[in-house]
Symmetry: C2
Subunit: 241 residues, 2 copies
């Protein structure tokens, strides 16, 4: 018996697209509709039936254009990365370009909070994600990185942005679910932490100090701090060679 032809990765990007003549439904259309539902009502609102009715089509019609729901989600995730505005290391310096990248990704993710779950689930290997990586690599190449160092700089940059932004998104969606504003929520958290102050002395001290400040702004500063901190580290590494 013959072995099946192996698919290198079970992903939309490795399956070939269906041929098309005159579809009343199209991938682009489906993806757009899916994003609209996701943006408006979040991940748990997106079902194939729901998507179908939104498109004025039967639920199972979608399966002609997309192998399964996971594939659809891969497409949708990659679409998020397309929204990152371009950043050019040629005109501005590499530091500005890298910063623009960081802020761009951060903003795109915030604009589509549901993307946080997807990033933890599936690798981002769509064309838009790759175009983004490529731009970042060009940026660091311009800065003077070569070989391994170039790879490392780029992926560390990406790591920092994701690592900061994903938990923030998780936190935001938790507050939204609770129906409270953030200020009260932080107050409540502070109460909890200070009540158990023996367990987390340092944490309790920090919390009580910042409970009254604007959390959103605080996190923005935080993001910028870490970013420049990391860029400084990179720059130092460049010079010492």
């Amino acid at each position: 018996m013959l072995r099946d032809v192996e698919q290198p990765l079970s992903s939309v990007w490795t399956r070939e697209k269906r041929p098309s003549k005159s579809p009343t439904l199209s991938r682009a259309q489906i993806v757009r509709a899916a994003m609209e539902i996701l943006d408006a009502e979040g991940m748990e609102a997106l079902s194939m039936r729901r998507l179908g009715t939104k498109l004025g089509a039967g639920a199972t019609s979608i399966y002609w254009h997309v192998a399964n729901k996971d594939d659809l989600l891969e497409l949708v995730l990659d679409e998020v990365f397309s929204e990152v505005p371009p950043f050019d290391p040629e005109t501005s310096g590499w530091r500005d370009a890298a910063s623009a990248f960081a802020y761009g990704v951060r903003q795109a993710l915030f604009a589509h909070p549901w993307s946080a779950v997807l990033i933890g689930t599936m690798p981002s290997i769509g064309p838009n994600a790759m175009r983004l990586s490529d731009g970042l690599m060009r940026t660091f190449a311009k800065a003077g990185f070569t070989g391994m160092g170039l790879d490392h700089a780029a992926s560390t940059m990406m790591a920092y942005v994701l690592g900061t932004t994903l938990p923030e998104i998780a936190w935001r969606s938790a507050t939204r679910r609770s129906g409270l504003n953030e200020q009260d929520l932080v107050k409540a958290m502070t109460d909890i932490v200070t009540r158990a102050a023996n367990d987390y002395p340092e944490l309790a001290a920090r919390y009580s100090e910042y409970a009254d400040l604007d959390q959103q702004a605080l996190r923005a500063v935080n993001f910028d701090f870490g970013l420049t901190c990391f860029l400084d580290g990179l720059e130092a590494r460049l010079k010492q060679r």
Copy 2:
């Protein structure tokens, strides 16, 4: 009519535990069983019925000890953080302690890959997560950071670790699903990227250079690079004051 007493956050950690006298089932037991299923077969294998039968109990019995599935997942996620080995800034220096933290978290997440999805979904505010944050804060306090800077250093550190590790996990699970070994998969990816080399010139160049190397090792080096890079940035920030 009276308003309900508001719960500050809809989370296990804000609901009070059920009183208990002589339960044949306990939270700890449930959480342990859930983790065993998750570790063995991943997220999609965990259903309440499955968990019930594993515990030799009815599916709905679990709902006495845990409000709903999300709550259970919060408990389970926090349990992951408990596996991070302790790191002491007193005995070793702050840099070593911070590194130990980073490697510890990374390893704990790798040991339970399903945690990646959860981190994107729910804030990590369980006792173990907090104890961890507290340790990290003490570490940076020892280093000499104070006030805002302390906060920033700690959360940036955490961000870096998560940002690096989560995509790695996503990638690993994708390869596992495909049933291929990683080497072949990277080769296949390289093919795809080089075929579209005009779109991503820099990326294609990198890919083809590293396709033959051990990816696991490559990522380990990568992680260490970013880590020291970031610690250098922090140290510089300390000295210039």
